[in-house]
Point group: C2
Chain length 527, copies 2
């Protein structure tokens, strides 16, 4: 089944000359399959097919689209152990994680399918005509959200299933009615290809138009750049580094027709530990933080890369327990030698920064491509002076910033860049005294966590996985949860449209039984 | 009262050396007041004040903010005839238009005040905790929309009240909880200044923080550029030309922290006249179209700059009546000599394009700065070959494109750029036969109008005043209507937040009595 080809609409194709292989970081060897990078011609074909499919696909009924998404979920589950084994061989991640991520992927598809059946995502709004209004009559206006058109999704290195071929970006864009072209991540090209086969199978089964989905192999920047430059492309979803996301954003902004790029990028996810809670629970929180820092070798966008507290014996005790816990963690292989190498460099670079001292961490290389957890500490004064210390080190690394007092803590949080999350650990009573700190933190983040760690992102309506730049390129949108669909929709208003020509969501007799805003009031009544 | 000064927070200031005056296009003379362009120092002061005001202002209760907006409306009405006279002297527009636009401005402010009282704009969403969920517990997640921070509003030349100092951008941004800095339009600096005094008066009366609003005089690009480069600025609202909007968009995209720019720019608003309806109603539609083309000297963003039909005797008849109606219109002065001159150049340039022929229009200069209505026609084949013919000529100009048949019409619509609106005039029966044309048109626009002209933009929840590029820089947002507020808000999610620390909109006992999405269902119950 794994042939290394690109999936262009309903065809498999390998017309390019450049090939590459994925890597098994645990065995420390290349995997066997040879992948053919998409050629300029293949990229253009995928774009043309997507463009051709877009009108038909935009017009499919919401329940037809829901069937498609559910069929994708079924087809992914049917890949069974083949998918799990391939996933593990391309990531070094354990089978449990593979299955967990598959569940999340399938659940996301089914969640968007339910949203389609329910229909409120189109935000149907009707203002009825008032022909007799003075001084001028009011026309009949009706508005719904319609799809933007073909979307490019850039697979994430650290979520080969849940943020790649059939991940949250693809699921939300397909739900919105947009054709999707995935630029596969080179590190898990096989996993992406296998999942993409499942999507194509589902598309055929549910009679979706060819071009509603394509999957392009890619080992560098060329495929992505070609996609970004095409006038057929209408938006981009990306998960990855700040430099990668910003490069796409810049390309998109320079186009004759600029298009939205939602890039979910770097974040250090500061965790602030308040003094009162550390008096009684420093041991418990040290263990929880250690787990969060080292979970999945720290390869999560919500990994806590900065810890902050007020220097006193309780914080020292917290650091001691944290050190003990971290030193007990057996390092696991990171996703790829390139990632492990970058981590080692980043970590070493932090150790060389003025004022940082070693708190905990393994030093010897026990297994190939190991992500050895490391905790450093630094004074808040040194931290504030050195912006390099504010940057993310992708992996199981965290920097403990020791502040002198509340003001020192507030000032340190205040100069952080935009983040996906910030966590504040404190007793309910002491949290009340830190309202200014909480306000400062809220201004920096998309999600403010109380007495919890940032890892673990619930997929639901109230989740916001986004945040001020550089955590994302547009703080107004989320990559996770129901509202992720909003990135791919735009409103269109119909003025005085005959009922028979209106989309179903706006017809007088409300055939989809939607809750609609009619003359300002939410109601499911017919007109 | 009119002192030509900048309004920086609660102070009036004229520290710059560059001065300019506004112009009365009817009298063809400069107005007397000397305006002082904001200096770099004054711009920085306005930005710093806005930044300082932003946290406090973001935390004001929705009803407090509603009081502020209503107080602005009251203060504008209290300016009474002073404002109307100044408006007329700076625009050449008649008193009726001034009063109409004032009504719209005041109504918009009151509409956003009502939205604040009602509260659904914050999209409150709650997912309750499930501590016993397997395999892992679900945390408590609550989400609302919060303000982005300081916004710059660039006043529109053609809406000195409704899209300038206290216009739709300012009203929606203030409603969202964002401080606003207006870069006044140089052509109506006095009107902007007078309205801004009213805003400051209202801010003081309702105890809003200094810096919640500032008004900067500006005669060129410098003030805008300085605003765009400031890290304090978080978003931009602009109404004007494609070149102006794109320049701001490009500046914003190049920042270290890119910020959203919502620019509402050019649009030719095609009006398609189908054959069947012209058989019986060509006279009626010719009159309606003539009025729409010449309304306000054609100085509306929804002015119909392209008319399209299938060449036959009925279309010829339509053109004849249109010519008769257009020739009967007495040209009015345009807003400013610069605009009149640009119009004359643009119009003349169109007449020089290959294949265009004259249909109607006055030729002699009857009054100063006259916007003389002109209609040209061209074949669809020539139209498609020459992209210059697709561009907007700002003023009472329209180009009648004669198509051979349906396919010719579809192809011509298909190559238009993004538009605010398209209108289709046809009998209900014939509209059914043009489903492909309607689909093509829908893909190009933000508002699809049936049997109506594009001028006249209703301010309500179902309006969408936006559209694909280049009509705006982001088709997902609107500049008019309730949803205009969405441009200035971002979601923030609170995880496991103690009830007492939650914003009112998310507290268990629902003190604001909001309709909230709780575990996926809209309800106003308490928790």
């Amino acid at each position: 089944m794994l042939d290394g080809k690109n999936i262009i609409g309903y065809n498999r194709s390998k017309r390019g000359s450049h090939t590459f292989k994925t890597f098994n970081p645990i065995l420390n060897i290349e995997n066997k399959t040879q992948f053919y990078e998409a050629s300029a011609e293949e990229i253009e074909e995928a774009l043309t097919l997507a463009q051709q499919a877009s009108t038909f696909y935009a017009d499919t009924s919401y329940s037809h689209r829901a069937n498609f998404l559910n069929a994708i979920a079924d087809a992914i589950m049917a890949l069974d152990q083949d998918l799990i084994e391939l996933y593990c061989s391309e990531t070094g991640l354990p089978e449990g994680r593979a299955k967990g991520e598959r569940s999340r992927t399938v659940n996301q598809l089914r969640m968007f399918a339910r949203m389609l059946e329910e229909g409120s995502f189109v935000e149907a709004s009707i203002d009825t005509a008032q022909p007799d209004r003075q001084p001028s009559p009011k026309v009949d206006l009706r508005k719904i959200m319609i799809p933007l058109g073909p979307i490019a999704v850039f697979g994430a290195s650290n979520f080969p299933l849940a943020y790649s071929s059939a991940g949250g970006d693809t699921a939300s864009a397909l739900a919105a009615g947009c054709p999707v072209i995935v630029k596969g991540h080179p590190m898990h090209a096989g996993t992406g290809s296998l999942v993409s086969s499942a999507i194509v199978k589902a598309a055929k089964e549910t009679s979706m138009p060819e071009g509603v989905f394509s999957h392009l192999n890619s080992s560098g920047h060329k495929v992505g750049e070609a996609l970004l430059k095409s006038p057929h492309l209408k938006a981009v979803g990306f998960t990855g580094s700040i430099s990668g996301g910003r490069a796409l954003f810049d390309l998109a902004a320079k186009r004759k027709e600029p298009i939205p790029v939602f890039a979910e990028m770097g974040s250090v996810n500061p965790v602030v530990l308040l003094p009162e809670i550390l008096r009684s629970s420093s041991e418990e929180w040290a263990k929880t933080v250690a787990q969060s820092v080292t979970l999945g070798s720290g390869q999560f966008c919500t990994n806590p890369g900065i810890l902050m507290g007020i220097k006193n014996p309780d914080l020292d005790h917290f650091a001691e327990i944290l050190a003990r816990e971290i030193n007990q963690v057996s390092p696991a292989s990171m996703l790829h030698p390139v990632i492990a190498e970058k981590y080692d460099t980043g970590r070493a670079n932090m150790q060389q920064q003025k004022g940082t001292t070693f708190v905990a961490g393994a030093t010897e290389k026990s297994i190939p491509n190991a992500g050895r957890p490391v905790i450093l500490k630094v004074s808040a004064a040194e931290f504030r002076e050195n912006p390099k210390l504010h940057q993310e080190v992708f992996g199981p690394f965290s920097l403990l910033v020791e502040c002198l007092n509340i003001e020192d803590l507030e000032r340190s949080v205040a100069l952080l860049e935009g983040q996906l999350t910030a966590s504040v650990i404190g007793t309910n009573e002491e949290l009340r005294g830190y309202d200014r700190l909480l306000k400062i933190a809220e201004g920096k983040v998309g999600r403010l966590i109380f007495n919890g760690v940032p890892t673990g992102v619930e997929v639901c309506a109230s989740m916001h996985h986004g945040g001020p730049y550089p955590s994302t390129t547009d703080s107004r949108f989320t990559a996770v949860g129901d509202d992720a669909i909003k990135r791919w929709l735009r409103p269109v208003c119909y003025q005085n449209c005959p009922d028979e020509l209106l989309p179903a969501a706006l017809k007088n007799n409300n055939p989809l039984n939607l809750l609609r805003r009619i003359d300002g009031k939410l109601t499911s009544t017919k007109l």
